[in-house]
């Protein structure tokens, strides 16, 4: 039984990681073929850095992801603090309203946002409304509920007396938030921000409806490649992105592990 468990686990991980491994392998392939591995090369890596269009797209995607995750984290944390101090009835109403956009199909959100932007654009007399700002607003919109939902439980877990104790010791409500509540709910804020960042980074469906000729992101452009043979430089780009995210998570977990180990020694 134990052996079976192990085999099963290995199988699961093969299924999860095989596609990425194939991608990485073919980013080193000497020809453009995606069927035969004809030899090892780094030329696609070199080529990527001579392709300003791809790098620019990557930059755009990162800019949107960073701004959207920061803004939605700040707004979402503020909303979560507000929601947590509501009366039970209004709180559950607001929470339902927060959850609906998350369960809404992306395509519906995308189309409705596009319609809203067109309407607002006509109203404000802007000729071509689609571009950086519409993308940013859309990304903040769909990230927000995720941040609220990851911060709220942390506030719930917190001893309510802690903020009272801070007030008691002379903090103004603002000081008490920054000195006591923020450090307590920080893990929730970080996981909310991480989630917002990754959601924004790989969003295609919603972005597709609200991007403009002036500003586009990587997922949208890659989509247009799928109709033609995909250049290996794209594999290279993905390999780099995967590696960066993998290393990031690895080091975050390592830091967490070291911290918990230290705690045990303290005891």
């Amino acid at each position: 039984m134990k052996k079976f468990n192990k085999i099963f686990t290995v199988l699961v991980y093969i299924f999860l990681y095989a596609p990425i491994l194939v991608l990485i392998v073919f980013s080193f392939n000497s020809t453009k073929s995606t069927i035969d591995f004809t030899g090892f090369t780094l030329k696609w890596y070199r080529e990527l850095f001579t392709r300003p269009d791809l790098l620019k797209l990557l930059m755009n995607t990162l800019i949107i992801a960073v701004i959207a995750s920061v803004v939605s984290t700040v707004l979402g944390t503020m909303a979560a603090v507000g929601i947590s101090s509501m009366k039970r009835r209004s709180r559950s109403m607001v929470l339902t309203a927060t959850n609906i956009p998350m369960t809404n199909p992306d395509i519906v959100t995308g189309v409705s946002l596009a319609l809203l932007f067109v309407f607002a654009g006509t109203f404000l007399r802007i000729n071509d409304v689609f571009g950086f700002w519409t993308l940013l607003i859309a990304h903040i919109t769909f990230c927000l509920p995720y941040v609220i939902l990851s911060v709220l439980p942390k506030i719930k877990q917190m001893d309510k007396n802690l903020t009272d104790a801070a007030l008691d010791l002379g903090c103004t409500p603002t000081q008490s938030f920054f000195k006591i509540m923020l450090p307590e709910i920080l893990p929730g804020i970080i996981s909310g921000a991480t989630m917002a960042f990754t959601l924004s980074l790989d969003d295609f469906v919603i972005s597709y409806f609200v991007y403009g000729a002036s500003f586009s992101t990587l997922p949208i452009e890659i989509y247009s490649y799928t109709k033609k043979p995909m250049p290996p430089t794209v594999f290279v780009l993905f390999t780099i992105m995967f590696t960066v995210i993998f290393l990031l998570l690895f080091f975050m977990n390592m830091a967490e592990y070291k911290k918990s180990k230290k705690k045990k020694i303290d005891l």
Partner: protein, 382 residues
């Protein structure tokens, strides 16, 4: 009036349609040790939180040093609180927890260090300055909470069931220590508890509360010896509470027999509640007493035996150092200075008969978790 530090005037509070405090009036003197005593949900914690500034009364006024502080936020009050379950800041170590109030006041670093180290020594936590608070024992966390509040030199220290989470032995030690700290620091302590023994042994004055109403205010001796109604008599210690009729001043009738007593000021033939403490009752031969009955239960309590006697259908509790057997017939003697007569109240008839005697009630009053329930209306968030 100059020695009054806190005055509560006609305070009423309701949460979600339930009255928590009903028209409460109370004055607290400077440098006094006052205890709010009562069962869960009696409004004692709410009263404390009103003084701390965390709850706004729906009506009524709070005076501090003669000034109305209804609109003063907690961070501007000269009051500090030791919270239930301590509420220490988990991301700060012992030193920083205690230093917190001083840092907010932006005192120079050197002064902070000096004061905190002094305070750490004073509460016997030397060597713990750099520890995380969640690695401390309950008693140590308790000391940190007290130190954190005291270091701000409050005029009044509010303590919300501070010993509730500690075990019996530690509790006794901390009671002594708290009393010592109060006398040394020479400030007012307002202490909330549901433990009557704690209240009696520490306080200058005890405020007994139930149902959002103050039932009695007095010294521990007053409330034990002269309870104002059946609730107080039952909540503080054990009591036999009988129906009686006041024949005239200094004369009360119980079971149709007249007894001399020390109480006066009632109407002639006014129905009253008569309290007789179990430790005051003397056991006699049945033929020497007009009140006699059969023993139905005997429990050994260490210092004494707890004997339940059925006399004319009323079950009395008697505490005696002598052993008696179940089934034995005994008589009892009631001396005038051991009889206490009280006016009838809404609590009459609810307490004071040991016919359904069990340990259950003791267990109930020891439940410290429940005491926070009176706040549940407000705290049930999320």
């Amino acid at each position: 009036m100059s020695d009054v530090i806190i005055q509560l005037e006609n305070i009423s509070v309701a949460f979600g349609g339930t009255d928590i405090l009903k028209n409460l009036n109370l004055t607290i003197k400077d440098k006094e040790f006052v205890t709010f005593l009562g069962p869960s949900g009696c409004g004692k914690t709410t009263t404390l939180r009103i003084i701390g500034g965390f709850v706004r009364p729906d009506s009524g006024a709070v005076y501090f040093d003669g000034y109305n502080i209804n609109d003063t936020p907690p961070y501007k009050r000269q009051v500090n609180t030791v919270f239930q379950r301590y509420a220490l800041f988990p991301h700060l170590n012992v030193f920083e927890n205690i230093a917190f109030g001083l840092r907010i006041k932006k005192l120079p670093e050197k002064e902070i260090k000096e004061k905190v180290m002094q305070m750490i020594e004073r509460v016997n936590l030397k060597g713990f300055a750099n520890r995380k608070t969640n690695n401390l024992s309950g008693g140590q966390q308790q000391r940190v909470a007290i130190a954190r509040a005291l270091i701000n030199n409050p005029r009044v220290l509010l303590l919300d069931e501070p010993l509730g989470a500690l075990d019996m032995k530690l509790r006794k030690d901390m009671q002594m220590e708290l009393k010592k700290i109060q006398q040394e620091s020479n400030i007012t302590f307002i202490y909330v508890t549901h433990d009557q023994e704690e209240a009696l042994s520490m306080s200058d004055r005890v405020v007994v509360m139930d149902n959002g109403i103050i039932q009695q205010i007095g010294t521990p001796q007053d409330i034990y010896n002269e309870p104002s109604n059946a609730f107080v008599a039952d909540f503080i210690g054990e009591s036999n509470i009988l129906d009686g009729i006041m024949i005239e001043d200094y004369m009360v009738s119980i079971f149709g027999q007249k007894y001399k007593c020390l109480d006066k000021g009632f109407d002639r033939y006014e129905p009253v509640d008569v309290v007789i403490r179990p430790e005051d009752i003397q056991i006699l031969d049945p033929d020497k007493s007009s009140l006699s009955g059969v023993i139905t239960n005997v429990t050994f309590k260490g210092v004494h035996y707890e004997i339940i006697v059925d006399i004319k259908g009323f079950k009395w509790m008697i505490q005696s150092t002598e052993f008696h057997r179940v089934g034995e017939w005994i008589g009892i003697a009631l001396l005038p200075d051991l009889i206490h007569v009280m006016k009838k109240s809404e609590y009459s008839g609810q307490f004071g008969d040991y016919s359904s005697y069990s340990e259950e009630y003791d267990a109930l009053s020891d439940d410290s978790e429940e005491s926070s329930d009176e706040f549940s209306e407000q705290e049930e968030e999320l």
